[in-house]
């Protein structure tokens, strides 16, 4: 877990965040510091430790298979930046 491997441009692309060159440089350095700091977790031997996903565990949480009212068509699209023919649209996806 070395921060040499940290390529901010690649990761920002993966996260779909466009950064200016100035941001890349500044944030890259800051994240380098932070990733360096979290290296301290390597000091601990955790080979026999179970991971904790939730500190207060419950299990088998389900809901009955029942239909419940949702949003009206108008409510559902009220916040949408671009709607055509009742569909939320983006520029054409090329596959």
């Amino acid at each position: 877990m070395s921060d040499d491997a940290f390529d901010i441009h690649y990761v920002a692309n993966l996260a779909r965040i466009e950064l200016s060159q100035e941001e890349e440089a500044r944030m890259g350095a800051q994240l380098g510091d932070i990733l360096g700091y979290v290296e301290k977790l390597k000091e601990l031997d955790v080979s026999d430790v179970e991971p904790t996903a939730h500190a207060y565990p419950v299990k088998n949480v389900t809901r009955p298979d029942e239909v419940r009212p949702g949003l009206s068509h108008e409510e559902a699209l009220a916040n949408s930046p671009r709607v055509v023919n009742g569909l939320i649209t983006v520029p054409k996806i090329v596959e």
Partner: protein, 489 residues
């Protein structure tokens, strides 16, 4: 002034007919108009709607209704969804988004009769400890308008302290209720994970987030929390336990209670005035009959690293939905863009998110990316187990744990803005509470001299141990008069 009252004081006046909800609401609105230009606790509020709700509460009371919060003005952090109100999370990226639904916490407040008004400022998406990371300006502590209110629930803490609302709700992922409560001098409680439904709380870190009350005194926190708790079928992580009785035992009696003092929390870098105030508070608790026991939480030093890996990893996925496609402020790609959908995402998010949010998403994305999962995320989850075990071990010996809330006093606006790591390190006392999933409260325990700034005392309780820490906090509050001191704005 009605806006200065606590929930219990106002409710009494509303019940007796001595005051109306409209008068109380108007008093809060007047106060907002008078001071919020300086404090900047509110992002927005709809006065007309608030007064309408107050009138409806008054009419209901006339018709014989009596509910625990009937007609009480309560303001919310801008990360909790209220139907028909804007929901921005203090970010530009949500644009003019209006929530089409109520959070479960909001539904419960409304069912209890509260007048729910206003959107309170915060660090964008609850990421930060100073409310400087807001697209809507910095919130200042009412005690010194050059200094931050803390964060991320800075607006919630400042608003209730400045008497702009009777009570507020904040959220706490790594101290975001307790630290601003300490910086502003109010009471704030982070419930046990799963106590309060997260449905309608915009997620930062799903396994750590909790909604909690921010109030003028301990009793109000107990009153609100009692209403907010309880199982919610809309939240799979919600505790199945029924809502606890929290106000019934606030009797000042803590004789024989064992309170742990973690030696790891009295560290280098702890402000001497804070240290002194907390030591005095510990003496006071001892004087009230509590037994003070030194305890050890050996993995404390690993909490911040663990937290920033887990919280940012979860956040990187939680915040992926803010992309300008279904809602929010979209940045359209230019005509002829060879990669229009990719650029729609990247520019919407590049321009819509502030620096801290981008930093955390990128870090979270990195620690989950191919080849790094085990080294970062999985390891952090294992260390989380050790941290949690520290607390569970301690609670074998003690009923509550006492500590400072923050190692530092409210700092000047801009003072730490350029060094995110230093900012993170100041979360040292609050963060492990969320990792361990236990409950914690912060309440005033004194002031620094010159400048006069509030100091917070923190108490931790076991999972579902809210009743205990509220009882201790209440006993301490009754035995001191810090609450009587009000900031002059």
């Amino acid at each position: 002034m009605l806006n200065q009252l606590t929930i219990s004081e106002l409710t009494e006046k509303l019940r007796s007919g001595e005051a109306s909800s409209r008068e109380a609401m108007q008093a809060c609105l007047d106060r907002v108009a008078a001071v919020d230009g300086k404090v900047n606790a509110f992002i927005s509020h709809d006065a007309e709607d608030a007064l309408e709700q107050a009138d409806a509460a008054d009419a209901a009371r006339k018709a014989g209704a009596d509910k625990p919060l009937l007609g009480v003005p309560i303001a919310l952090k801008d990360v909790i969804a209220v139907k028909g109100q804007p929901l921005n999370c203090a970010s530009k990226i949500l644009g003019d988004f209006v929530s089409p639904y109520d959070a479960t916490a909001v539904r419960k407040l409304k069912e209890a009769g509260a007048v729910v008004f206003g959107r309170l400022n915060m660090d964008e998406f609850a990421m930060g400890s100073s409310t400087e990371n807001s697209a809507f300006g910095v919130t200042k502590t009412p005690w010194d308008l050059d200094r931050v209110a803390g964060g991320s629930s800075g607006g919630s803490a400042a608003a209730v302290t400045a008497d702009e609302a009777i009570a507020t709700l904040g959220t706490d992922t790594g101290g975001s209720i307790r630290q601003p409560a300490a910086f502003c001098g109010c009471v704030g409680i982070k419930p046990t994970y799963g106590r309060v439904s997260r449905f309608g709380l915009v997620a930062f870190a799903s396994s750590l987030d909790q909604i909690g009350p921010m109030t003028k005194d301990v009793r109000d926190s107990a009153t609100l929390l009692e209403i907010l708790c309880g199982h919610d079928p809309l939240d799979s992580t919600s505790n199945p336990e029924p809502s606890p009785q929290l106000t019934a035992n606030l009797n000042g009696d803590i004789k024989g209670m064992r309170i742990g003092l973690p030696k790891e929390y009295f560290i280098e870098g702890l402000d001497p005035q804070i240290k002194a105030a907390v030591e005095a508070a510990v003496k006071k608790l001892e004087g009230l009959g509590a037994e003070i026991v030194e305890i050890s939480l050996p993995h404390t030093d690993y909490a911040i690293a663990t937290y920033y890996i887990i919280a940012n990893a979860e956040a990187s996925a939680n915040l992926a939905r803010f992309d300008g496609v279904r809602y929010g402020a979209r940045v359209e790609p230019g005509a002829g863009d060879p990669n229009p959908v990719f650029n729609l995402y990247a520019r919407t998010r590049g321009q819509g998110f502030g620096a801290e949010v981008k930093r955390r998403i990128i870090m979270g994305t990195y620690v989950l990316s191919s080849g790094y999962y085990d080294a970062y995320y999985l390891r952090a989850q294992k260390v989380r187990t050790l941290i949690r075990q520290d607390y569970l071990n301690a609670f074998e010996k003690v009923d509550a744990i006492v500590s400072p809330t923050s190692p530092v006093l409210p700092f000047k606006v801009g003072e730490k803005a350029d060094d995110p790591l230093q900012m993170y390190l100041a979360d040292i006392f609050t963060i492990s509470c969320n990792l361990a999933g236990i409950c914690g409260i912060s309440l005033p325990c004194g002031f620094s001299a010159d400048p006069k700034l509030p100091i917070g005392l923190q108490l931790f309780g076991k999972p579902l141990g809210e009743e205990t820490i509220l009882r201790v906090a209440h006993a301490y509050e009754q035995a001191t008069d810090w609450r009587a001191q009000k900031p002059q704005i």
